[in-house]
């Protein structure tokens, strides 16, 4: 049975984004499962600092050699930082999806998180796919 890293401290979406919630700030990226499915990531389309997105809306996209996938907001928020390092090293998302491969940081405006799974639920979900 293949297994992917799913750090306990994070929350997850079924669409394979993760979020680290610290007070009213959030850091968002995609999971180890996602980067494994996508294969070599060649480009990450980032939003601009100051952009505001509602929960469930696309805030950017990730491109591999053969596919392009939208990135969905786990909660509503305003973008406070973007990982500009991804412009030159998009493969950080493959090598370090939960650390160097973080994509955006946000100020959470609506903490409604009923769609968020904890690590165990997400890991179990990945086994069924």
């Amino acid at each position: 049975m293949p297994s992917w890293k799913t750090p306990e401290t994070l929350k997850y979406l079924k669409s394979d984004e993760w979020i680290l919630i610290e007070g009213d700030m959030g850091t968002i990226g995609i999971t180890d499962y996602a980067q494994d499915q996508l294969n070599d990531i060649v480009f990450v389309e980032l939003p601009k600092v100051g952009d505001v997105f509602a929960k469930g809306k696309p805030f950017g996209s990730v491109e591999s050699v053969k596919a392009a996938s939208d990135l969905m907001m786990p909660v509503s928020g305003e973008v406070t930082e973007i990982n500009t390092g991804l412009k030159t090293r998009p493969d950080s998302v493959n090598n370090s999806p939960f650390e160097n491969g973080w994509i955006i940081k946000i100020k959470i405006t609506d903490a409604d998180n009923d769609a968020l799974l904890d690590a165990a639920a997400y890991a179990a979900y990945c086994q069924t796919r």
Partner: protein, 451 residues
């Protein structure tokens, strides 16, 4: 690869596998009265007879080669070196289609890469795609990039009156359901009035140099205004003119488009032509159309491959920039061969011939008492003449002398009644120009016009 047709036994096996007895059974969904309709066709004719009949149809048309042609307006009569056709008609190029398999398509891919490179160099931009259907389509596609750049938050497109009327019509048709506010081309606005149309809701501004009336302009100031408002600037241009004049890239264009027909493609009654599309590196991921890149294979050998594929409609589907995932391959190749043969110096010489002959013609015509040539702005090889009599009358007289005169602008622009758009290229000899001028003079004298 072998292409062996199915045998009857294989057909029976296939029919049995899908549960029918005969091939006719597959047509049951078609009502019987439509299934095998009576076609009232004449008997087949021999190749000789067919060739003769088609020949007589063809001879009913006048051919550009039989006339001295002084008409442009978006399609131009230039000399095509015979080497262009020799290369184009080679089976390897002529029948090759989409280079999806790079291992089998290096020739096609390299040719496209060279095309992209030369277009980028000519236009002063960072990169180009593998081409669009024609100049009008390229402009319509550029509008999409403008809308995407503002994430569809901005809905206003400002188009210059000077852009070819057909291009502006195509932009409106293409985007008729997008809820856009397309403005600016209702009148020949001054540069200041035009720039004042740009606001926070403007996604893109499009202008042309040379424009439909032949006028050249420097858009550096406009580019600053466009960028200050957070919009994109598209410049429509003529590749032949770029051999002589400042490139749109140097003026600050974000996208450069236009018709590539002047580059080794015959007039052919309107097509096939080829639309070029060049842009800055930052926008390459947003543009539609095929893009070919240069890379190294696993053995370190230089190779060419289609790249930035996730933009394209066959992969991104409804989230792609556009439905386009093809290019005008053969015509782009013709342009590539032409540019390669002519080179920088050849292009410059051809453009200079067009420029000087056109300016000679303009001076001679302006010198006639009853005709005026608009020389208020610099022009490349086309200019507008104010005529003393209807253009149709002048063109009828020219036709008798084996000359095709310019476009009657009054047809599309009511305010320009009796105005003719004349084009002169390297194909027009001095004798032809002098004959044209003398006939213009005769027509006005016969009509009794003195000044």
């Amino acid at each position: 690869m072998s292409y062996i047709p199915h045998t009857d036994v294989e057909r029976q096996q296939m029919l049995a596998a899908i549960g029918v007895t005969t091939i006719e059974d597959l047509f049951e969904a078609v009502p019987s009265r439509y299934r095998f309709p009576k076609l009232d066709l004449p008997d087949g004719a021999s190749e000789m007879e067919v060739a003769a009949e088609l020949q007589s149809f063809a001879e009913a048309n006048d051919h550009a080669g039989d006339f001295a042609l002084f008409r442009g307006a978006g399609a131009y009569h230039h000399y095509i070196p015979s080497a262009v056709n020799h290369i184009l008609l080679r089976g390897e190029f002529y029948t090759a289609y989409t280079p999806y398999q790079p291992e089998m398509s290096q020739g096609t891919l390299q040719a496209i890469f060279e095309y992209q490179t030369m277009i980028a160099q000519l236009t002063g931009m960072d990169g180009a795609n593998a081409s669009h259907y024609d100049g009008a389509t390229s402009l319509a596609e550029a509008v999409i990039v403008g809308l995407e750049a503002s994430r569809h938050a901005r809905k206003k497109i400002v188009l210059s009156y000077g852009i070819h009327p057909h291009y502006r019509a195509v932009v409106r048709t293409y985007h008729q359901w997008a809820g856009l506010d397309i403005v600016g081309d209702d009148a020949d606005h001054s540069a200041e009035d035009f720039a004042n149309l740009i606001d926070e809701d403007t996604a893109m501004v499009a202008v042309a140099t040379p424009d439909y009336f032949g006028r050249m302009a420097d858009f550096r100031e406009l580019a600053k205004r466009v960028h200050a408002a957070g919009a994109l600037l598209v410049i429509v241009t003529n590749p032949m003119a770029l051999a002589l004049f400042k490139s749109p890239g140097e003026m600050g264009a974000d996208i450069v488009v236009g018709e590539g027909q002047p580059l080794g493609i015959p007039l052919s009654y309107g097509g096939p032509y080829v639309g070029f599309f060049a842009t800055k590196m930052g926008l390459m991921r947003r543009i539609s159309g095929r893009i070919v890149g240069e890379t190294l294979d696993k053995n370190g050998v230089k190779a060419y491959v289609m790249t930035l594929r996730p933009r394209e409609q066959d992969i991104r589907r409804e989230r792609a920039t556009s439905n386009i995932c093809t290019n005008q391959g053969l015509m782009a190749l013709a342009a590539t061969v032409y540019l390669s043969l002519m080179g920088k110096n050849g292009m410059k010489r051809a453009a200079e011939l067009c420029y000087h002959k056109a300016h000679y013609a303009a001076a001679q015509i302006d010198h006639l008492n009853s005709y005026t040539v608009d020389q208020s702005q610099p022009f490349f090889h086309e200019f507008v003449i104010q005529c003393p009599v209807p253009v149709a009358q002048i063109n009828a007289a020219l036709y008798e002398a084996g000359i095709i005169g310019g476009i009657d602008l009054g047809a599309d622009y009511p305010a320009l009644k009796n105005h003719m758009l004349l084009c002169v290229t390297e194909m027009n000899s001095k004798d032809e120009i002098d004959t044209l001028v003398s006939i213009l003079n005769e027509v006005s004298e016969k009509a009794g016009v003195t000044a």
